[in-house]
């Protein structure tokens, strides 16, 4: 069975404007009366509850129906109601725990959401971001059958998204791969292994922290010489990429080596005790930029590594976030393809539950806040089309929403927050300028 698209609701973004219900009622009945809406958003104290068909995988409404009037569509996953078979017994409404199928007096029978054929009117009407149409299930459908090239039981910290990055990227890249994981969290969780045991099913090795791109160069060049198509892939931390690993990275990029280099950026040396790296942002606490009577965290801004790689004119450069997996997958595909022609660089942000000090359940939400506040920007570059924004930078959420989610910024004073705001603004203008420059050049 495949996975399906779905409508997701974030009550914290909802202000009860009813636009979704108006849109639904209009789309389905021609009347704007929200009584006819298939989606019902109901105030519940300080928050809102959603009554909407979840298009369940094991739908009780279908099981309860004695007339076979309800059926789940195998292709779309939508539970369809067939009026010609319905006997109006309403047993379906009893089965549904979500208020997703209800009797509508005007219609004279039950009504439910049909996802508008994959383009739901309610989502389009919501300008608060409370409703989103999630299509990420495609990822499962497309790669779910591909072999996970890491063994179960890698020993990452609780809630870390690096393991997610490793498993998702490598299963897509495939088994004809040699994987380099320089010292850091990636091998730290057992991917290369310990005393004779390994966590990886493809050839894997520890390069030095300094020479990942160079070792991959030798591997790739020799296999090419032999006429063999082997992917040379790095999963490296930001220290092994931006700091001590940068010389070999820059050299390989300049030479256009056919390598896919993935930087898992957790903004510091998190594996070895949360020390500062060149990618640590201004103000952040680390164990070498501690907070005390005088110290207030890092006193310099982060090095913008993906931009540096863009300036190498790599075959492909992109930033990605695990809060936006469809985008990540699309970029991964383009990076894999580009690495067959030249150097491909993928920079994936990896909030560190341990080193950034936030609850382990919140990793993806922290990643999302980083993007939605423009602290992290998602874009991609290739030499022909220039830089393209992956999502608009307009109307970011307030930076406080991101900073307050992280213990490493707990000590920030107002002027430090001001500095970070100014840095984000400057970074946004820089990227926007590059993206608009692209459009001008293309026009």
């Amino acid at each position: 069975m495949g996975a399906f698209n779905t409508i997701a609701f974030k009550p914290e973004h909802c202000d009860g404007c009813n636009a979704c219900m108006t849109a639904c009622a209009t789309a389905k009945t021609g009347s704007a009366d929200i009584i006819n809406s298939r989606i019902q958003v109901v105030a519940d104290g300080d928050t809102f509850e959603l009554a909407l068909c979840r298009q369940c995988g094991d739908p009780k409404c279908v099981a309860n129906c004695p007339a076979a009037a309800l059926a789940k569509d195998d292709a779309s996953g939508v539970i369809a109601w067939d009026g010609s078979k319905c006997v109006n017994c309403l047993l379906c409404t009893v089965g549904c725990a979500y208020g997703g199928i209800v009797y509508n007096a005007a219609a004279g029978h039950v009504v439910k959401c049909d996802s508008c054929g994959g383009d739901p009117a309610c989502v389009k009407a919501c300008d608060r971001g409370a409703l989103t149409y999630l299509t990420t299930a495609n990822i499962y459908n497309e790669v779910g059958d591909l072999e996970d090239l890491f063994v179960p039981g890698l020993a990452g910290c609780q809630g870390c998204n690096t393991e997610l990055i490793m498993r998702h990227t490598l299963r897509r890249i495939g088994p004809d791969t040699v994987l380099a994981t320089p010292p850091g969290c990636v091998p730290g969780m057992g991917s290369v292994g310990y005393n004779g045991l390994t966590g990886t099913k493809v050839p894997v090795f520890h390069p030095l922290l300094t020479n990942t791109a160079s070792m991959l160069t030798g591997i790739k060049r020799h296999y090419k010489r032999q006429g063999r198509e082997v992917n040379a892939v790095a999963l490296a931390g930001d220290g092994g990429t931006a700091d001590v690993g940068f010389q070999s990275l820059s050299g390989a990029a300049e030479r256009g080596e056919q390598i896919l280099f993935i930087c898992v950026d957790n903004e510091g040396y998190m594996n070895t005790g949360m020390q500062r790296s060149g990618c640590t942002p201004f103000g952040a606490w680390t164990s070498t930029t501690p907070v005390g009577e005088r110290g207030k965290g890092k006193t310099q801004d982060a090095k913008n590594l993906p931009l540096l790689m863009m300036m190498h004119n790599c075959e492909y450069v992109a930033t990605a976030s695990t809060a936006f997996m469809e985008d990540l997958y699309a970029k991964l595909d383009r990076a894999i393809d580009a690495s067959k022609r030249g150097f491909a660089y993928l920079h994936i942000y990896s909030p560190c539950t341990t080193g950034w000090r936030f609850p382990s359940a919140e990793n993806i939400e922290v990643a999302r806040k980083a993007v939605e506040t423009n602290f992290v920007m998602l874009w991609e570059f290739n030499p022909r089309d220039g830089l393209r924004l992956s999502r608009p930078l307009d109307e970011p959420r307030p930076i406080d929403e991101y900073l307050e989610a992280l213990g490493k910024y707990r000590h920030l004073e107002p002027e430090q927050v001001g500095h970070i705001e100014a840095t984000v603004r400057k970074n946004v203008e820089q990227i926007r300028g590059l993206a608009e420059g692209r459009r001008a050049a293309m026009a």
Binding site: G193, G218, Y223
Partner: protein, 407 residues
């Protein structure tokens, strides 16, 4: 595809850097990584030109520094390539991190050290301080006396490195200035002769990165629990055993080479006029020629002088040295580098260590010369012989003598 080198065995005139490049070409290496540094630069220029001219069918990787030079070759070797590079001095210092790792990974690659004195004072001239500074890292190190020996040894180095009982990297050391730029007549072996001597490399399946046989290369090993300590010791002991096996393999390689091309070089140590010698010089590298002349002159004066040249420095041929020097009354060891901690030459340290195993142990003194490109002339060696004669008489080991102190 085979290399297209077609000359019959013939004599050419070339310097040591070109000789090394010819050897690399004849050895059919798959991969060469390049970064220039004086006095090695012309060596990699020759290789780049040989590739451009179609003489050498190798993947040539021009990288951004010596650290990457060796790192690229690590990748190549783990994918099954026969690999080569050369460096010296500051370049060797910069590549120390991957250099340190090479023998532990049992990578049979060959790297020339076109020896150069180390900084500081700033210097671009010859001296053994660079190679000596890395003598305990686990690479096989062989020092050449002549341009011909550079060529022959560089080919033999692959036979040694890739031997299944060795599987270790080899440094072929040839003296900056004196051998790198000194031209002489060289017999060039034919491709057929080299092919008969050196079979294609076979993959070391103990450490290989090939998707057809996935494995983890160099996982964490050691720690205080589980199989860690025993596993780590096994690797270390195996590495030491490989070094010791290299002594016999080097001798066999020299024997095989002599059989095929008709040229015989001493594999571990060369004894020169040692049969009835009372005093002996111990030398390393290109200084040996002048030292042999000085021995001849001393003999003409009636002094029973001899010489022992150390060809293979790591592994140190302890027994061969002990045998060669047993019975002489006094020894002068001439180093082209220093051991700061001992205030003498490093070869001297090794020799007095080896003399513990000599049946009759002679007195030995340390002489240091030829730093930063300085010439060690027959006059210098004549003075060394005189000092060693005095040592033979009184047995009093004096302070280290610095040969170029007043030059």
């Amino acid at each position: 595809m085979s290399a297209v080198l077609k000359p019959k065995s013939k004599a050419i005139v070339c310097d040591g850097n070109e000789a090394a490049a010819w050897a690399v070409t004849l050895a059919r290496v798959d991969m060469v990584a390049v970064y220039p540094i004086t006095p090695q630069s012309s060596l990699v220029e020759y290789l780049a030109k040989f590739v451009a001219d179609g003489k050498l069918n190798a993947e040539i990787v021009d990288v951004e520094g010596e650290h990457s030079v060796l790192s690229v070759l690590h990748g190549g070797v783990l994918a099954g390539a026969r690999a080569y590079t050369g460096t010296c001095g500051p370049g060797l210092a910069f590549m120390f991190e991957p250099y340190l790792r090479t023998p532990g990974m049992r990578m049979p690659l060959v790297m020339s050290i076109v020896t150069r004195d180390t900084l500081t004072p700033q210097s671009v001239w010859g001296g053994h301080q660079d190679a000596m500074s890395v003598r305990e890292v686990g690479w096989v190190q062989m020092y050449c006396e002549t341009v011909q020996e550079v060529l022959d040894t560089t080919i033999m180095a692959y036979k040694v490195a890739e031997h299944r009982d060795v599987m270790l990297p080899v440094n072929v050391c040839h003296d900056g200035n004196y051998l790198s730029y000194g031209a002489s007549r060289v017999e060039l072996p034919t491709q057929e002769e080299v092919d008969a001597f050196l079979p294609p490399p076979s993959t070391n399946w103990h450490a290989a990165l090939d998707p057809s046989r996935p494995m983890a290369v160099d996982p964490l090993t050691g720690g205080s629990g589980g199989p860690g300590p025993a596993l780590f010791v096994r690797y270390r002991k195996g590495q030491c055993a490989g070094m010791q096996h290299a002594l016999a393999v080097i001798e066999q390689a020299h024997e095989d080479w002599a059989r095929i091309v008709g040229r015989r070089h001493a594999p571990l140590v060369e004894s020169y006029r040692m049969d009835d010698a009372e005093v002996a010089l111990v030398t390393l590298g290109s200084m040996t020629g002048a030292a042999k002349d000085a021995v001849d002159e001393a003999r003409e004066r009636g002094t029973r002088a001899g010489l022992v040249k150390v060809k293979t420095y790591r592994p140190f041929p302890v027994q061969a040295i002990a045998r060669a020097l047993s019975g002489v009354r006094a020894v002068g060891v001439v180093d082209r580098s220093v051991s700061y901690g001992w205030n003498c030459g490093p070869l001297y340290q090794d020799v007095i260590g080896a003399l513990q195993f000599a049946a009759q142990r002679p007195a030995a003194m340390s002489f240091i010369g030829g730093l930063a490109g300085a010439d060690i002339t027959t006059d210098h060696f004549g003075r060394v012989i005189e000092r060693v004669q005095a040592l033979a008489k009184d047995g009093v080991v004096g302070e280290t003598v610095w040969l170029n102190e007043r030059d």
